[in-house]
């Protein structure tokens, strides 16, 4: 009975999980798998952006800057001989550590001022990556990052990451890990503090929430996650160059979050996968793609302020309410309950 209920409530997620896991087995095209790997990497970056932007209400435009810090950190440490499995959390920790200082400075400002000051930091990272030649190798970047260290498995051999399929599963693993972390964080009293700050900082402070440390925590966790994402990106690409810290990346991720659904769990992933494939599909249009992309973004902001996930949730709700109404009795109560359940989508 219990499993039945679990299935009934989570069938959609299970379906998506099965689809994600079987993707490289069903799709044989290396081309599509590669796009999917990229899309899911961007989804990870969008997920962490959603934590500070969507759930905490602070528009950090330094996201690519921290992505870059993580990417360069991983490039340098793995090339110096460190195992990928140590270098990756180190990349996250490095981004989080720098983020702590940047947060101490910038989180004293609010609204647009926070956006602008973080944008400045992002630009600084980009410039440093391009000009600190001794460390970063300038515009050429650092090449020849070794593939993730194989994981030994007793009796069977080892799990290596040279094949595209295994790289895909590596990305899926971290995507799920990030989802888990953000889900747990958001659905806790700590997450409630984030949302209190987003909704009304003055009131949050008045009821006893230290809004500054709350924002700082969200910012540090965000930067840890995006630093790791930068590390994963670097290892999959086998190299880094200053473009990994370019602020146009930040704006793309921002768009994924908005199109998918701000402050929803699935939104950043939906946005990243959909837009990445759409852009790829329109490859022949060249620069015009960006115009179409801009148009989609504007439409989303005007017509679907809660993104595609918001639209889907509302549709699903309507259908459910409709059938609840037909069955009669307690439809309203059911609606309230299922609305609660859908909140976390």
């Amino acid at each position: 009975m219990k499993y039945n209920k679990f299935l009934k409530q989570n069938w959609l997620y299970l379906l998506l999980l099965i689809a994600a896991l079987s993707f490289p087995l069903v799709i044989s095209s290396r081309y599509y798998i590669q796009i999917m790997i990229t899309a899911l990497t961007w989804a990870m970056a969008a997920l962490s952006l959603n934590l500070i932007l969507g759930y905490t209400g602070q528009a950090s435009l330094a996201h690519a800057g921290f992505f870059g810090l993580g990417a360069y950190s991983l490039a340098l440490t793995t090339k110096a001989g460190l195992s990928f499995w140590l270098a990756l959390p180190l990349a996250g920790a490095f981004a989080a550590f720098i983020g702590l200082f940047i947060g101490l400075l910038t989180l004293r400002t609010r609204g647009h001022y926070f956006a602008i000051s973080t944008l400045c930091f992002g630009v600084i990272v980009f410039i440093v990556a391009g000009s600190w030649i001794e460390i970063t190798k300038g515009a050429t970047g650092i090449l020849g990052i070794p593939k993730p260290t194989p994981i030994p498995i007793p009796f069977i051999g080892e799990l290596s990451f040279t094949s595209q399929t295994n790289q895909y599963y590596l990305v899926i693993f971290f995507l799920l890990l990030f989802l888990f972390i953000i889900y747990r964080l958001v659905n806790s009293l700590q997450g409630l503090s984030f949302m209190a700050v987003r909704n009304n900082e003055v009131l949050a402070e008045a009821v006893g929430i230290n809004t500054f440390t709350t924002k700082l925590l969200s910012f540090v966790v965000t930067n840890f996650l995006v630093g790791m994402t930068g590390g994963i990106y670097a290892v999959l690409m086998g190299g880094v160059s200053p473009t990994v810290a370019g602020s146009n990346l930040t704006f793309f991720w921002l768009a994924y979050v908005i199109i998918g659904g701000v402050a929803t769990m699935a939104g950043p992933i939906v946005g990243a996968v959909l837009v990445t494939f759409l852009m790829e599909y329109m490859y022949s249009l060249g620069e015009y793609r960006l115009a179409i992309f801009g148009l989609i973004l504007i439409m989303a902001i005007i017509f679907f302020p809660r993104g595609l996930v918001g639209v889907f949730t509302r549709l699903y709700q309507k259908i459910k309410d409709y059938f609840g109404g037909i069955r009669g009795g307690g439809a309203g109560q059911n609606a309230a309950k299922s609305r609660k359940a859908n909140e976390t989508l």
Binding site: S188, A206, G208, I209
Partner: protein, 254 residues
């Protein structure tokens, strides 16, 4: 003395919004602060609760100097407040608003949330119980899942008091808790304030409705143009010439 306000002064550019305001708040009493619009009542609340820095003067809570502390520290020390324009987390549900009000008494952090530690579980259950109790107290049990924006003005006022109540404050400062609601509903809020007092909470109240002030208050402080012009029990205030003068042309004092 529970709270001691000493010569609080606030200048906004040229304007003196509060000028050397002193008064005491005794444990368990209801103190009303009255005065015409623009007298500086809300500013006084903002100074005490730490939302604005005072130009000069001091605030003592149980003999401890708490001048200049941040609002969240004041809340933690037991001074809760509401705002003149009803202020709630309007994107969230009633129950979440209340839960946030209790947040200052919980310590669940990143690792607790991530690992579902014993503290995470304990505080989650504790918060849920507190929310249920508060819903009961403010008479809004059936509204737990409602969004704030769907509530009536009166229900929002109740909820704002409920949110402030969640932290188990020693002092509750209510800035015009009945502003913008009709007379019939005022009685409900009044009764709620009396029940706060029964709970042992000291209440400091800004209010315009004179009948309500006269019925509720143990003592009254009167402000006019940033100055304290009178202080005393209701019957004394209602026949104080300076007070009547200040209200001339304004509201009639019962």
């Amino acid at each position: 003395m529970l709270l001691k306000v000493e010569k609080l002064t606030k200048h906004f550019d040229g304007l003196v919004a509060n000028n050397h305001i002193s008064f005491d708040l005794a444990e368990g009493e209801i103190l009303a602060i009255i005065g015409p619009n623009g007298a500086g009542k809300s500013t006084l609340f903002n100074l005490i609760s730490g939302m604005l820095p005072a130009t000069s003067g001091k605030v003592f809570l149980e003999e401890e100097d708490v001048t200049g502390l941040k609002p969240h520290s004041m809340a933690e020390r037991g001074i809760a407040r509401t705002f003149q324009t009803t202020t709630l987390f309007d994107e969230l549900r009633v129950m979440d608003n209340l839960a946030i009000g209790y947040r200052v008494r919980t310590r669940t952090g990143f690792w607790d949330a991530l690992l579902h530690s014993s503290r995470w579980r304990r505080e989650k259950e504790e918060t849920e119980a507190k929310v249920m109790e508060a819903l009961e107290f403010i008479g809004m049990r059936e509204y737990a899942y409602h969004f704030v924006s769907t509530l009536t003005q009166e229900a929002q006022k109740r909820l704002a008091i409920g949110v402030a109540l969640m932290s188990d404050p020693k002092i509750m400062m209510l800035d015009e808790p009945t502003a913008g609601i009709i007379q019939d509903e005022t009685d409900g809020i009044m009764e709620l304030i009396l029940r706060l007092k029964e709970r042992g909470i000291t209440v400091c109240l800004i209010e315009h409705k004179m009948r309500m002030v006269m019925d509720l208050a143990d003592r009254i402080v009167v402000l006019n143009y940033g100055e304290k012009i009178a202080e005393g029990p209701p019957e004394e205030i209602s026949c104080n010439p300076a007070v009547i003068e200040a209200y001339l042309g304004g509201e009639h004092i019962a």
